[in-house]
Amino acid sequence: MNEKNPASTYDIIKVNENEEKHTLSIIVDDEPGVLARVIGLFAARGFNIDSLTVSETESKNQLSRITLVTSGSPSVIEKIKVQVDRLVPVHRVSDLTAQYGQYGALERELALIKVKGTGNKRLEALRLAEAFDAQTVDASLDSFIFQITGRTREIDRFINLMSSVGLTEVSRTGVAALKRGADNT
């Protein structure tokens, strides 16, 4: 379809809008099916999920926090927020990226990285892990598992480097995030 002349609403393509990554913190009732509802919405409307974590919150009222990283143009991000907010069991949606900026919210992720190898590669892997403050949480004669915590970009970088020194498996938790300071997210 011709981008400049979409034939219908189906082909609206916002050409000059940049894709942005946003971290959303979604407080929901901890009831069966609630995660399926949120994910189903993203699937049905063609929104992206870059990362997703779900856990109970501090509250005794059976609430869960879904921390979801999504990407899209500003208008798509806006659509995502109102769509999620409309779901019945959703208490509130905070857009940490838009509300608090890159540094106003604290975002962390944990990754376990398995590296296989011997000799120089093995040494290099250890040196890199040290440089990145990664912990060695498992070791055998020809493998390590490193644990690293940090911002997504840092972990990406670490994984990238590890792939040239024998990386075989990665498991990541997805982003956990809170607003900095005394106020609630």
């Binding site: 034939a7 219908s8 609403t9 609206i12 099916g33 208008s75 659509k79 409309r86 019945v88």
Partner: protein, 587 residues
């Protein structure tokens, strides 16, 4: 504390406490306790449909015509899956219905038990919300929350899946009918300042237009009253979507007719050329906008809607107000009064322009002395029923569009059609739902020969309950709308859209114990319509119309509002070349 009753009794008691006096349903193993409870009480009447899709549409008809919440009861597995089309229909058209489905007992869930289906999973995408009840203690709250969610904000369907053991279990019941929901809190106020701004925009505009939708109907009859007053006060021309017909009277002075794909020339041209568009309770659907980047290119756009997700979804607007239509209108009229605004512009030039467009007479068609033209049939039906207490429902296809174009609705809630989903088979069960709510009114389903066969079994329901529902079939022996698109898009290759082996509709009616009437000639039409109206009980009128008539005007898919195909003068060649390659992929 409340009284101790069974889950099944809680279901029925809650329905009664919500003010619903009739439910539509079909029994089965997983809802037998509920049917036993129905048997032993008199507050809630049950209408036995013949297919669960019929129950859903009947509940929609009941809801749309009364403004109450419609209720259906279906069994597990196939009962629930049969209801899915009706739930989806209600979701797209924002109709409040509550579906109670039976489920296999709690301990069998997940074992592929007999007639087990993952009903909450299947219906998650076609309801506003749904619940699986796992504890009898939750049932009273969930029942009442469900009604609240169905009717609040942008209304829609909800489903409660109740395992059979929960129906048998006993629990405390308290009337919680005033309950709200802890997290679902749609807007209840309106931004005073923003409404004031709208009024100022109207005062400054030269070519304003009001584009209203089903949201005004959902907002209650008072919203329609205020809309009329608002239009009288401001003298703005008004058009509406298919779903919004009747909110402003079809015979009203400022009425331009419906807009969109089969809307009038004047409505679409005015939408294209306006400098201020006020969208009230509509959602810029693709049937309305046509080609999106050429949609009303020079206007400031205001959108009033209760649902935040509708705003800036398809069309970016200049001013958005998140509010119920009625609240908006109350506020707007109040501001006009408070500011003592008496001198709204007269829009003289704009009205002159609109009158010029009207002279195109876009709905004209070639009359024929020997063959009933479908447009003529609707015109006559309108003339012969307009002074009665009439409700019109439709199926989906050309007949639906002709009904929208030629039948004028002066009141809200009188017009029921499947707009968003376009569900063939909607009209007849919906008409039964209306007739159940208003036994003395004249309820007519304007149908096509193909659509009516999709839920014809509901004739048995109509006969059983002595409903007076009338079916007015515009019988053109084709799936006319499909044939029209095949002519437009596919070189007139009429692939599988000829209605081969149609039943004899008169005999079909008689087989069910209803009355059948046949009309073939224009001269016999009036008499046949009068006979249809006057015959008690359900009637099928087989109105045999011109076979190959096309529905115009039409904005071919992928074209802009000012690029309409007008009826009478288009050649077959123009018709077959109307849509270019880009437009062809659109539905």
């Amino acid at each position: 504390m409340g009284k101790n009753i069974s889950g099944a009794e809680i279901v029925i008691q809650a329905i009664a406490d919500q003010g619903v006096d009739v439910v539509f349903g079909y029994p089965g193993g997983a809802v037998l306790p509920i049917y036993d409870a129905i048997f032993q009480q008199e507050e809630v009447k049950h209408i036995l449909v013949r297919h669960e899709q019929g129950a859903a549409h009947a509940a929609e008809g009941y809801a749309r015509s009364t403004g109450k919440v419609g209720v259906l009861i279906v069994t597990s597995g196939p009962g629930a899956t049969n209801a899915v089309t009706g739930l989806t229909d209600a979701l797209l058209d924002s109709i409040p219905i509550v579906c109670i489905s039976g489920q296999v007992p709690t301990h069998l869930i997940g074992t592929d038990a007999f007639q087990e289906a993952d009903t909450v999973g299947i219906t998650r995408a076609c309801t506003k919300h749904n619940w699986l009840v796992k504890d009898i203690k939750d049932l009273p709250r969930i029942m009442h929350e469900a009604f609240y969610v169905a009717r609040s904000g942008r209304p829609g369907p909800v489903l409660i899946d109740i395992p059979k053991d929960i129906q048998f279990a006993e629990g405390d019941y308290e009337n919680l009918s005033k309950i709200t929901h802890k997290t679902y809190t749609p807007p209840t106020s309106v931004d005073h300042k923003a409404v004031g701004k709208v009024i100022e925009m109207i005062q400054r505009s030269k070519n304003p237009i009001l584009y209203t939708g089903g949201g005004v109907i959902n907002s209650g009859p008072n919203a329609s009253k205020l809309l009329k007053k608002f239009v009288e006060t401001t003298n703005i021309p008004i058009t509406s979507t298919l779903m919004g017909l009747g909110a402003y009277p079809g015979s009203g002075k400022n009425w331009l007719g419906m807009l969109g794909m089969h809307g009038t020339y004047e409505a679409n041209m005015a939408m294209h050329d306006c400098d201020l568009m006020i969208c009230l309770g509509a959602r810029f659907d693709d049937r309305i906008t046509g080609k999106i980047d050429q949609f009303s290119p020079n206007s400031k756009k205001v959108h009033i809607d209760i649902d935040a997700t509708s705003i800036n979804k398809n069309v970016d607007v200049d001013l958005a107000i998140l509010a119920d239509c009625h609240k908006f209108l109350v506020e707007a009229l109040k501001i006009i009064k408070d500011r003592n605004i008496k001198n709204f512009p007269t829009y003289q030039k704009w009205w002159t322009q609109i009158d010029t467009w009207k002279t195109v007479n876009c709905l004209k068609y070639k009359a024929n002395p020997d063959i009933i033209m479908p447009q003529y049939a609707i015109e006559r039906l309108y003339e012969l029923t307009k002074d009665k207490d009439t409700y019109i429902t439709t199926e989906v296809g050309q007949h639906q569009m002709w009904a929208a174009q030629f039948y004028k609705f002066d009141e809200p809630n009188r017009w029921l059609t499947s707009g968003g989903l376009g569900t063939m088979g909607y009209g007849f069960p919906a008409a039964n739902g209306v007739q159940v709510a208003f036994p003395e009114s004249l309820v007519i389903d304007i149908a096509g020969d193909a659509s009516i066969l999709m839920n014809i079994q509901e004739l048995s329901t109509a006969v059983q309950y002595r409903l007076n529902t009338k079916i007015f079939i515009l019988n053109n022996s084709y799936m006319g709308m499909v044939r029209q698109w095949q002519q437009l898009l596919h070189g007139n290759r009429i692939s599988e859209s000829y209605s081969e082996s149609l039943p004899d509709f008169v005999k079909l009616a008689e087989a069910y114990g209803a009355t059948g009437i046949l009309a073939k000639k224009p001269k016999d039409l009036d008499e046949a319509i009068i006979k249809m109206i006057e015959t008690p009980g359900p009637v099928i009128m087989d109105c045999q119309v011109a076979n190959l008539e096309n529905c115009f005007p039409m904005i071919p898919s992928g074209k802009a509002h000012n690029d309409m195909l007008l009826g009478e003068d288009v050649s077959d060649e123009q018709v077959s070349n109307a849509i270019d390659d880009d437009g062809k992929i659109m539905v």
